[in-house]
Amino acid sequence: MKFGGTSVATLPRWQNIRELVASRRAEGARVLVVVSALTGVTDALKQMCAQGESGKRSEAAKAIAQRHYDLLDHMQLAMPDTLGDRLADLARLADEGVATLGELAWQAQVQAHGELMSSALGAAFLSHSGLTTQWLDARDCLAAIALPNQNERTRLLSSMVDSRPDPVLAARLATLGEVFITQGFIARESQGRTVLLGRGGSDTSASYFGALLKAQRVEIWTDVAGMFTANPRQVSGARLLQRLDYEEAQEIASTGAKVLHPRCLSPLRESRVPLLIKDTNRPELDGTVIGPEVRAHAPSVKAISARKGITLVSMESVGMWQQVGFLADVFTHFKQHGLSVDLIGSAETNVTVSLDPTENLLDSDAIAALASDLAKVCRVKVIAPCAAITLVGRGMRSLLHTLSGVLAEFGQLRVHMISQSSNNLNLTFVVDEEVVDTLLPHLHDLLIGAGALRTDDSELFGPSWQALYGSGEVPGAATAWWRESQRQRLLELAAEATPRYVYHLPTVRQQARELNTLSAVDRLHYAVKANTHPAILRALVAEGFAFECVSPGELKAVSAIVPEATPLLFTPNFAPREDYVFALGTRATVTLDSLYPIEHWGELFRGREIVLRVDLGRGLGHHEKVRTGGSGSKFGLPLDQLAIFLQQAETHGVIVRGLHAHLGSGVLDAGHWGEVYAQLASLAERIGSVTFLNIGGGLGVPSHPGEARLDIAELDRVLREVKAAYPQYQLWMEPGRYLVADAGVLLARVTQQKGKGAFRYLGIDTGMNSLIRPALYDAWHEIVNLSRLAEPATALYQVVGPICESGDVLGTDRRLPEAQEGDVMLIAQAGAYGKVMSSHYNLRDEADEIVIE
């Protein structure tokens, strides 16, 4: 059992260790505890090593000793001799300095004291609390081996240990007791000097002991329950990986996961000792088991990870790669400058390699010197900062066909390099570092959606990080209104006529009330383009909403329904001049989103207050769907034209009262609005007349079952935080789909079925003419057979409509009960962008609309 620095730094954590050790004893196991130094002590020792003056070193040693005195004090223990000896040693080493031992050996000796002291202290505590514990000097057990590539530094500070099973040691321990405590991080070399194991050393020590003793298992106790399908700090929906084989785990650890140092797996792989990762604070959680067994499982991507700070060196040369020895010469330069190459990609005229962010790379002239040398033989380009995004899973190549959606996402980015190793465990893309934070959660979702990351396999995948550690309640999926309470009603309505849209007003109200809890928002506008049904408009008037329109038609429709006092917002895009003329004749607040209207029709707006829609674009931080930002999008004024716009506004006496930006749609991460809000606010500070900021809508509605809902409380927290920084601005939003999507369903009836090869088509009496979203955006709508809701879903259908278009598909590969002609099919989440986007195509009748309470 291995415990890290924070786990050994306080009395309560030691009490926790005691309980965990006792529980293992109760299971009949003999226990060896491996500990790190108290948190911060190793760093303090390193600093002490760097200190030139003996007086200051002694002071530092005293401060370090004090940490241990304090903890002893808390434990109400007297100073044990074992610890006293160590403290005296340390004081002596501090006083003497490098002199007798030689610099590196002295450093190793000094730094080893962190673990020597913590383990001595732990032995005293555990024995005192009734668990007789033998203190073991790890240096008597772990023998460092000399390797051909080592220099004195690596030999002493980053050593390797012989991990072949050692029956003699095992027998010796058997005679000594049942519970042992020893040090991580340290070992001894052939000349008897103390050596360190380098980064991740304590985990590695635990593995060495596990291998030497042929342990039942190695347990790494840390602050998280194990390895996840992605870094939980980046992807809160990341799932716990319950089972991994050594190679997969090593790959995940090497490509980003911090929970385990990749070094510590190889000693165990040979001896086939399993490793278990457990959460010290939540021992009841299953954790991750890493072992040799590869049981039969469907091939699946196991994790997606990202490593940042990657530097690429691209070398361009004509025809030289084929020359014998050329590459060897090139790589010699990397070796000379102490740079180790990770990924390699090559073409006829180009070889590109990646370098990890080592200190040598960041803080020395290595890269400049390397580039100078390489420039003599080829054209060099140093590309950074990049990030390597790696998909890990055994049998990656057999998964390629499932990755098309994921690969399409990379199509939107600058991909500098793709690499796949022959062991078939990984697939790596190197992209610009700045896109990673937003890209990763999106890719994780896509992998699940595409069935490449088989989270449905509960053997392999545990709960999400959000569910285990997330703050507050995980918003649960309430049963949809149509599934139970209104099902009978819907069947009756379908019996009257299909196709037909049905809207459930209580759901609209419920969504509206939820948004009304956003205390940071001063005014909510319903973006009526999502659904202009009068009953819905009336329901939202009653909930206090204002309205956002994008055309004179919408303005007229809304004006006919809502009271005079209700505020209106007019936010058109590429609208003709007369649209503005019309809107200016109403009470609507007009938004401009390009230079043209103010340049060419400036007088139209004289004396008026307007809102300016800007495109925050690429590079301003948010990358939600890169394609909607930047020059590729037709919306919004580019920021480089802002000064001209303001000048024009000044010329025409137009007052810019509000700033507006829109993220795109379907956003489920609250942080995005905070970013847009803060960016708008900092822009507004340069424009004296602005009093409100409109951060748009785009509040996502999850479509797949089990997908987490947008956390409205979290959104409010994020918005309030920005508001506290910019209290002078009112905050507006304009949600559309969020309010109405779940409130509407499309009812249709089964017409015919067809089998074709392996496919089974299920025809219904309407298609893309009523609901174009699946064809237009690949949108996923849940589809159920409402007539047979309780029957087992045994058939796999392609659900299609009657339109003469091969794209007239409403759902692919849907598990549904065997259907019959006339069955009522329900297409869910059709309340937004359903009826409003429908057409007469093929001159088929339009679906009608029914409103229910």
């Binding site: 530097t311 960041l362 900062p385 301003l620 931080g621 480089d640 007349s689």
Partner: protein, 446 residues
């Protein structure tokens, strides 16, 4: 309620009164007979003012009133200025005439106004005589979150000087940088009169004001209040260079960071507040490049500082949370640090490579004064930027980046390569007014 004012049609700007009690200074202004505009400046944990310093404090407070008025005056730019407490002595009036004219030059240029002949503070008062106050030998160092003030801090620390990191207003970024310095900190709050926002709504003139002058005056009050013998800014040589010339007038975005203002204010403080209160810039003799070279050694600040002029009120851990990557400051600091840092380190600071992005070409062109004038920002001189760019164009690890490549093929052939050396920029000039006590710190930078 007073009647609605049309700010641009006002005739008179009035300095109504100023007062101080319990750590709060109140500065009161008005246009015509309009509502009073009251600005408040809060000095935290303010001690009682020692009697010996009372006169000096009043003089400093009065100057603060007069200087901070620039934020309000500019809303209407009326033809007449009135000071309720009576006419100013010539030196004071001269300082303010200069500050309002040059400090608002960019504002005037952008708004198509001509302020020459319009700004005349009332004269005819009598100058006081002041002596030494034996102020404690310690220094107020204003922190801006950027590299310059951090170089100044480290220079003072290197000579064992006693100093306090001070800043005005709320900024998480500055607070984080100030904390990183390890110095004691002082955060003074400035609350603009709410009436100013109302004036803006009513169509007031708007634009750049000489904010460094306002902060300098605040720190002069603070120095007397808390007891400091020096205020050491971190304004460099290029701050004195004009951004452009317009109808015969020099327009300098950073005039109040320039040497002319430093001399005016420094001398004024010696003659009107205390002969032992020194106001200077510790970086004055140095070019931006000399300063970035010094900063390149200060690794502990790399993940905390930002010179970006987007106002990041909320901090995040990513480079993009501190650097917008699009403004002239981002462009300049990136370029000026590049010759002195390993490339991967520089890119890790910014989170992206601005010189390998074609979309940034126009921004860098402006810095090089290629096809454009220098931006209205606190950035180095064009020749300095060209020298940095030239240095990079000779480095294999930079050569192939899009904008360096473009510089080599398109811009460099039009330049005289003999004018592009980096080294001359690293030499300090003679121009500085640093007090004897801090001379060693000055030398530590170069």
């Amino acid at each position: 309620m007073s009647k609605m004012i049309q700010p641009r049609l006002t005739q008179l700007f009035r300095f109504v009164r100023c007062s101080y009690a319990d750590g709060v200074a109140e500065l009161v202004y008005a246009f015509d007979d309009g509502e009073e505009l009251i600005e408040r400046i809060r000095f935290p944990h303010a001690p009682a003012i020692p009697a010996a310093r009372a006169a000096a404090f009043d003089a400093a407070l009065k100057l603060l009133h007069l200087i901070a008025g620039v934020s309000y005056y500019k809303a209407g730019v009326p033809p007449k200025i009135e000071v309720a407490s009576g006419p100013l002595d010539d030196a004071t009036a001269e300082l303010l005439d200069q500050l309002y004219l040059h400090g608002l030059a960019e504002f005037a240029y952008r708004n198509g106004l001509d302020l020459r002949g319009r700004i005349a503070f009332p004269r005819g008062g009598v100058a006081p005589t002041v002596g030494t106050l034996s102020l404690p030998k310690r220094t107020l160092v204003p922190i801006g979150g950027g590299k310059d003030s951090l170089v100044a801090v480290e220079a003072i620390k290197s000579i064992g000087g006693e100093a306090t990191a001070v800043w005005v207003g709320n900024s998480a970024l500055i607070a984080a940088c100030a904390e990183r310095t390890g110095l004691p900190t002082l955060n003074i709050q400035r609350e603009l009169a709410p009436g100013l926002f109302e004036l803006n709504r009513l169509g007031a003139w708007n634009g750049h004001i000489p904010v460094t002058a306002v902060n300098s005056a605040i720190l002069a009050v603070a120095a007397i209040l808390y007891g400091y013998d020096s205020i050491a800014f971190a304004n460099e040589r290029s701050a004195s260079a004009a951004t452009l010339e317009y109808e015969g007038q020099q327009v300098n975005h950073q005039w109040s960071k320039g040497y002319a203002f430093e001399q005016l204010l420094g001398n004024w403080l010696h003659t009107h507040v205390a002969s032992d209160l020194d106001y200077c810039s510790l970086l004055r003799p140095y070019s931006e490049l000399a300063i970035t070279r010094a900063f390149a050694k200060l690794t502990p600040y790399f993940d905390a500082f930002s010179s970006c002029n987007r106002n990041f009120k909320l901090l995040g851990p990513k480079p993009a949370d501190r650097w917008c990557g699009q403004c002239p400051k981002c462009h300049f600091v990136f370029l000026a640090l590049a010759p002195f840092l390993p490339k991967p380190r520089l890119l890790s600071i910014f989170g992206r490579n601005l010189l390998d992005d074609e979309n940034q070409a126009a921004g860098f062109d402006a810095l090089l004064e290629y096809q454009d004038h220098k931006p209205f920002e606190c950035v180095g001189e064009g020749a300095e930027a060209r020298a940095a760019m030239y240095a990079l164009s000779q480095r294999p690890e930079w050569q192939e980046d899009a904008l360096i490549e473009r510089f080599r093929s398109e811009i460099l052939p039009q330049l005289d390569a003999s004018q592009l050396a980096l080294e001359p920029w690293l030499e300090p000039s003679a121009e500085q007014r640093v007090s004897a006590r801090l001379q060693a710190a000055l030398a530590a930078i170069g």
